[in-house]
Structures are given as C-alpha cells and as structure tokens.
C-alpha cells in the first residue's frame, strides 16, 4: 500500500489505547510515533536496503544508448540465470545528459513470446517533461529472444528516465524463469518478528530516557513500545492483503508468504478506503476517550466506516473481475508501490 495508508493506520492503532489518547490531549506525541512506525518498513527498504543490494550486472547505456545492446545484455542475464541455476541480479542505469536533461528508454518483458523489448525514448527534464521530437531518428523497439520458458509476468513498460533506474532479479524455479521486480523490497523489512523487536527496543530506550531524566518510571515507555510495535505490524499485515506478500517471520523464514490477494497495493480505492477508515476511527477514538463524548457511536460507525467500506469495497470488487495472471499481478504490485505522488 501507499505510504500514507500505512502511516495513518499506525496513528489509528495508537488511538485505540485510552491512555495514549489522554496523554496526547496533554501534549504527548505518542500517536505520531505510531505513524512513524507504520511507514518504517518501506523506509527501511527504500531508504536503506536498496543501497546495499549487490548486482551481478549493471547496465549503463551511456550517452548514446543502443536499444539492441541493452536488450541483448538483459536477455543474456536471463539465459545465464536459467542455464546456471544461479539467480542474476540486474540493474539498469539512467542516462543523464545534463543538469536537468535525461534520455528516456523503456524496457518490457514479453513472456508470451519469451522476448525482451527495449525502445529509446525522448529527452526529458527532471520533471519528466519530454522535449518534442527528441526521440532518436527512426527509433524502433529492439526485441531479443530470451529462448527460455518464462513465467507470465508484469508486462507493462518500465520507463527508465530520471535519477535511478529499476532492478530485476532473474530466478530459475523448476523449468521456468521468474522475473522479480525490485527484489530487495519486502525481503526482510516486512516482518512481524522485527515489529516485536522494534516494540521492545522503543520501550527500552523510552524507559532508559525517562529513568535518566526523572529517576522513576511511568507507563509511557510501555505505551511507546506497544504503539511502535503495533504500528509496524499494521504495515506488514496490510501489505499481506495484496498479492506479493512479505517474509513474515524473518529471520526464521526465508521466503515471502503469498498475500491474501484481496487487493492491489497501488490501487486508488483500497488506499483511499484505508486512509478514510483510519481517519474515521481516529476521530471515533478521540471522541470516546474524551471527557464528554459527543458522537452517536453506532450511527457514526455505520455512516463513516461501514457505509464507505460497503459501497467502495463493492465497486472495487466489480473493477477487479477479469484481471491479469497472479505472477504478473504480484510483480506489478511491486512496481506500482514505488509510484508515489511526487509534486515538488
């Protein structure tokens, strides 16, 4: 799911504890800690783990990219993964032409034909604005046969243009080749074990800080630990509703458990519903734990939570009928999750 959905879920979980709400009304920032913990698993991946990933092949197309050469090198890595049985981790670099200029190119996997396609695109600014007629003259998509059986995967175009490029991991399982997009994501960071460890660490650090400051201990460190641990766990469990799933009990488990396949983490409706429901529950909790509650609880829950869930949930289910194959959906989920709103 998108960062904001995880963040506000963490905040909402924190408000289910009356003591946390009462302390927050007196100036404590404990609910913010829930939000920070809620977004932490993706922070660990996108701001740390990805930088420590080692690649078997880094393709740097240079200032004059050759579509045929890029496609051949990708296909070569795929064949190598299949023939040797050793997974191949491949990164595609962007083409920077100036301080604010980039050359766009597009990579696409075509599992039905077992092909890789690469096309050189226009020159774009850092705002991804293409310059008209800046495509290379006569540019066509270069297609290269991989020649090994591929699992049907995400086959939309992967645009490589500004800042850093995408990465893929080619893995042979049985007699077929899998294409994993952004393989470093949800490998160890989305773990319930880690959520428990985080809760204990936060509680310990808060207790130590309180002891050093006041020479006594209150219940606040315990609430801090609980809010942080549950906020983190909330993220992991929400992602589990999607297709890709996570490595739930790392380091005790090594592989991702498949998701429940109820929703696509990048889709607008589930993200909005999560944010809306969390915001409604926050309001509900703030009210019921206040000195003089004002909301009619059943009516509020019916109108602000159940009704949107019912209406938008049904609409979403109708939209979902007749979509792609599972493996394509799983890999597509990884790609779409990285498409945050960046507006300046």
């Amino acid at each position: 799911m998108k960062g904001i959905a995880h963040f506000i879920t963490g905040v909402a979980i924190a408000t289910f504890f009356p003591e946390v709400v009462r302390e927050a009304a007196e100036g404590s920032l404990l609910p913010v800690l829930g939000g920070v913990a809620g977004i932490l698993p993706d922070t660990l991946d996108f701001k740390f783990a990805r930088y420590f990933e080692r690649y078997d092949l880094e393709i740097d197309p240079g200032p004059e990219p050759d579509a045929q050469e890029i496609a051949e090198r990708i296909a070569g890595a795929m064949r190598k993964a299949y023939e040797t049985g050793r997974p191949q981790n491949v990164m595609l670099h962007t083409v920077r032409l100036g301080a604010d200029l980039w050359r766009q190119y597009v990579v696409r996997f075509d599992p039905a034909r077992s092909e890789v396609g690469v096309r050189i695109g226009p020159v774009v600014t850092t705002g991804q604005v293409p310059f008209p007629s800046s495509e290379p003259e006569g540019a066509k998509e270069a297609r290269v046969q991989v020649g090994v059986p591929m699992v049907h995967t995400y086959d939309a175009e992967n645009r490589v243009d500004i800042f850093s490029g995408p990465s893929f991991r080619f893995v042979r399982k049985g007699d077929r080749l899998y294409v994993h997009f952004l393989d470093w994501h949800r490998r160890w960071s989305h773990s319930l074990t880690l959520a428990a460890v985080l809760g204990l660490v936060v509680a310990g650090v808060a207790a130590l800080a309180e002891w050093l400051r006041r020479g006594a201990l209150s219940h606040t460190p315990m609430w801090a630990g609980l809010v942080a641990g549950l906020g983190f766990a909330g993220h992991v469990l929400e992602d589990q509703l999607g297709f890709m799933g996570s490595n739930l009990f790392y380091p005790f488990t090594k592989e991702r458990s498949l998701g429940l396949q109820l929703l696509h983490s990048g889709d607008a409706i589930p993200n909005f519903l999560t944010v809306w429901t969390a915001a409604a529950l926050i309001l509900f909790n703030l009210d019921r734990f206040s000195a003089s509650p004002r909301l009619d609880a059943p009516l509020f829950l019916l109108l602000a939570v159940a009704l949107p869930l019912g209406v938008l949930g049904t609409l979403y289910r109708l939209q979902q009928q007749g979509r792609e194959e599972d493996e394509a959906l799983r890999q597509g989920e990884m790609v779409r999750e990285t498409e945050e709103v960046e507006t300046g």
């Binding site: 920032l29 913010v32 939000g35 990933e53 670099h93 800042f163 607008a268 004002r294 300046g344």
Partner: protein
C-alpha cells in the same frame, strides 16, 4: 437584516471580486497584503459604511484570488504558499503549449470547490462545531503528524551509480538531507521572524511576506532565468479533455485537502492538497491540477467561511483574523449571505478566467519568457520592498524608517531565497520550505517553542 442590506452585501462581494481580479495577476501579490492595506486605510481614515459590507468585499476578493491567482502561478512560476505544488505540473503543461489548459483545469477545480462548499453549507453548523470539539485538544500532535509524514514520505533521488554500500546510500540521501536542511533552515528563519523580526513594528502584519516570496517564488523565477527557458506558442483548446471520473476524483481530493488545511492551524492549501493527493493515490496530472484548484478555494474561501458558521466562528487564515478585529458575524442570515456571496464571486471569477488567461498568455509570448521572468523578478523584489515600506509609512514612520523597512524586507527575502534554492539545486521537495511556519508553531504548540527560541538567543 433587510433585503436592501442583503443586496448591498452581494454587490460588495462582486465589487471585491472585480477589484481582486487584476491584483490576482500580479505575481506574488497576496490577497492578504491587499486586504491588509485596506484595513490600514480603514484604521487611518475610518469606515463610511457598515463593516459587514467590508467583510463581504473581502469575501469577493479572496474568492477571486483563489481562482484567478493560478494564472501567474502557471505562466510566471510565481506561486503563493498554497499553490507551490502547482508550478511543477503547471510548467510541464506550459512547456507542452498547454498553459491555458492547466489554468482552466485548476479553475474548474476551484469551481468544484465552491460547489462543494455550497453543498456543505447546510450541514456546516452541525458538522464543524462537533469536529472542533473532538480535535481541539489534539491539534498539536495532529500538526506533528502532518510534519512527520511530509518529511518521511520523500523518496531519495540518487542515481545509484556509486558502488553498492554507504557511498551509494549517501548518493541517494543527499537530496533527503537537503530536504531536511531546507525544513530546518526555513524553520530557523521562521523562529527569527516570529520572535525577533528584523522588520519594524509598523510592518509586522506583513512579517512573513518577504520570506514566502523568497522561499517559493524567487527560486522558480531565477531557475527560469538561468535555464534560459523559452516558451512555445500556447495552444488554446476549444474544450477541456476531462472525464467525469477525473473531475470528480480531482475535486473530491482537493476538497478533502482544502478542508484539512482550512480546519487545522498552519496547514496550508498546498500541504492539504499534497496529503489528499497521496490519500487518493492520484497519478493523473489533470486530476492533480483540478484537485489543487479545489484545495486552494476550499482553503482560502472555506477557511474564511468557517468564521461565519453559526456556533463555530473559527478564526483560521489571515483574512478571518483581520476581519475579526473589526466585526463579528452574529446571525445565521449573515452566514447564508456569505454563502451567496461566495457563489456569486466564484461564478464571476470563473467567467473572467479564460479572458485573463489568454491576456497573460499573449503578453508572456509577446514579451518572451525570459524577459517576462526578469520583469516578474523585478516585481517580486519591488513588492518585497514596497509592502513593508508602505506598512511603515501608513503607520506614521519616518522616511528613514520607510526605506529601512523596504531594505529589511529585501534582506529577509534574500535569506529566504537562499534557502528556497536548496530544493532547486538538490532536487528535494519544495514543500519543505513550509518549515517556516510548521517548525516554530509546531514547537510552540507542544510548549517547546520558547525554550528553543531561548537556545537560539532570540529571547532571554
């Protein structure tokens, strides 16, 4: 309230909209500056008619500004703090000859925002007082939640060309570090301006204007000048390509963001729109532009309308604070008159939008984008100097004081522009410049503001 008073009130609102229309086209001249001058004039010369008419005149002004202020934001890259987000997609459209379309999409969003305000008006007196009662003790942590999300949700922007490990990590984290530095430095500037402003007391009501212009408008214009951007001939389409779905999504998201910004202190329309854009997982530029238009209208107009809601009378935003010193709304009739004024002024402003957009587009094309940017920069600096100087002059300051106020305004703008250039140079988010308000007020709300000001040597 008699029918004549009602008609006079609506005429005052229309007059306000007509007066604000040309002012909205002046880059970086904020409606609050113009309203501030009117109020200073009232303080000096008195008011020859009932204050209700002045309040409705301001309603017309703020509504027109909320809709027409998009024109300089898109064509001259000179946004206010509520429209800072629109410049990037706006420029994208401008370079694709679609500047007119960008403005009209934002205007359609603004009209949608006005329709949403009208639809909400019958329930506002039940909904918002209840909402305020629930969250009023919780605004400090809610504000910090907004700050935390704003800072944590920015992605790194490295090129991943360094060897894997810490060197590659730092390559990515440079932009994030620049973002954090921007937030902290603009927050530091906010502390200085709020606790020990260099501007004289007579200009105190415009204390933040030079900083906002320096943070948000000057860097864009400098970038356009240095990058030697040339504008292609704009294309004026006969119709907008928007599906009902995109329109509804954009308006809905913008209204949510605008309401968030109007209701919560310090959160501006831009931040509200940004959060709502994330919440609705927006990926379409048209929906984004529409949502920003709706968000800005709901933030400015809806924020002022909250002051009029029976049983609420919430003072949010500069205009409500200014008007509250002169007059307080007392009856539900006045509230409904305000709603009618918004509808009328909004309708008039939207009708003026296509013509004024064409005018500015023609002007910018004829003069040339670089020359227009140079003129805009000159105007920005003139406003930064003139507004504090005029405040000092109207407050009865000496000529030395008047020139000193202008010079100090330029000094604050210079410092703010330096900070505002950080995101341009390092590719981080410009919204981090909102640290100017968010950091000092956020710390004040949790009771730490005075302590931090003490560490900084701003108070003893």
């Amino acid at each position: 309230m008699s029918a004549t008073e009602g008609v006079m009130g609506l005429l005052a609102a229309l007059l306000g909209a007509a007066a604000a229309a040309p002012l909205s086209l002046v880059p970086a001249l904020h409606v609050y500056n113009a309203a501030g001058f009117v109020l200073l004039g009232v303080a000096v010369w008195g008011l020859p008619f009932p204050p209700l008419y002045l309040a409705l005149f301001f309603f017309g002004m703020v509504t027109a500004y909320a809709i027409l202020g998009t024109v300089p934001s898109v064509f001259l890259s000179a946004p206010d703090e509520a429209l800072a987000f629109i410049v990037l997609p706006g420029q994208k459209y401008l370079m694709q000859r679609r500047g007119y379309e960008a403005v009209m999409l934002t205007g359609v969003g603004g009209l949608g925002g006005i329709a949403a305000l009208a639809l909400l008006s019958p329930v506002a007196s039940r909904l918002f007082p209840a909402l305020r009662a629930v969250i009023q003790h919780h605004t400090p942590w809610i504000l910090w939640t907004v700050i935390a999300y704003m800072l944590l949700s920015e992605w790194p922007k490295g090129t991943d060309r360094q060897p894997a490990g810490w060197r590659r990590w730092w390559d990515g984290w440079r932009s994030l570090t620049a973002g954090l530095a921007t937030f902290l430095l603009s927050g530091l500037l906010g502390f200085v301006l709020m606790y020990r402003s260099v501007l004289p007391v007579g200009s105190a009501y415009q204390n933040l204007l030079p900083a906002f212009i320096g943070l948000f408008a000057v860097p864009w214009v400098l970038q356009n000048l240095l990058a030697r951007v040339e504008l292609p001939e704009p294309f004026i389409p006969q119709a907008l390509e928007v599906t009902p779905g995109i329109l509804l999504r954009g308006v809905f998201s913008g209204v949510l963001g605008g309401l968030l910004a109007a209701f919560l202190p310090v959160v501006t329309g831009g931040i509200g729109g940004f959060i709502a854009g994330h919440a609705t997982a927006q990926r379409d530029d048209r929906a984004f532009l529409i949502s920003q238009g709706a968000s800005k209208v709901v933030y400015y107009v809806g924020g002022f309308l909250l002051f009029w809601v029976p049983g609420l009378h919430l003072t949010r935003g500069g205009l409500a604070w200014m008007v509250s010193t002169l007059w307080q709304p007392r009856s539900p009739q006045v509230y409904w008159l305000a709603v009618a004024a918004v509808l009328l002024a909004g309708g008039l402003s939207f009708l003026l939008l296509p013509g004024l957009t064409r005018l500015v587009a023609r002007l910018v094309t004829r003069v040339g984008y670089r020359q227009a940017s140079a003129v805009t920069l000159g105007l920005l600096l003139a406003i930064v100097a003139a507004v504090p100087a005029a405040g000092e002059w109207l407050g009865g300051g000496s000529w030395a004081g008047v020139f000193g106020a202008g010079g100090k305004g330029l000094l604050v703008c210079l410092v703010a522009s330096g900070i505002g250039l950080l995101p341009v140079l390092w590719g981080s988010r410009r919204v981090n410049c909102m640290g100017l308000l968010l950091l000092p007020i956020g710390l004040n709300m949790v009771g730490a503001g005075a302590e931090v000001a003490g560490w900084l040597g701003l108070i003893r």
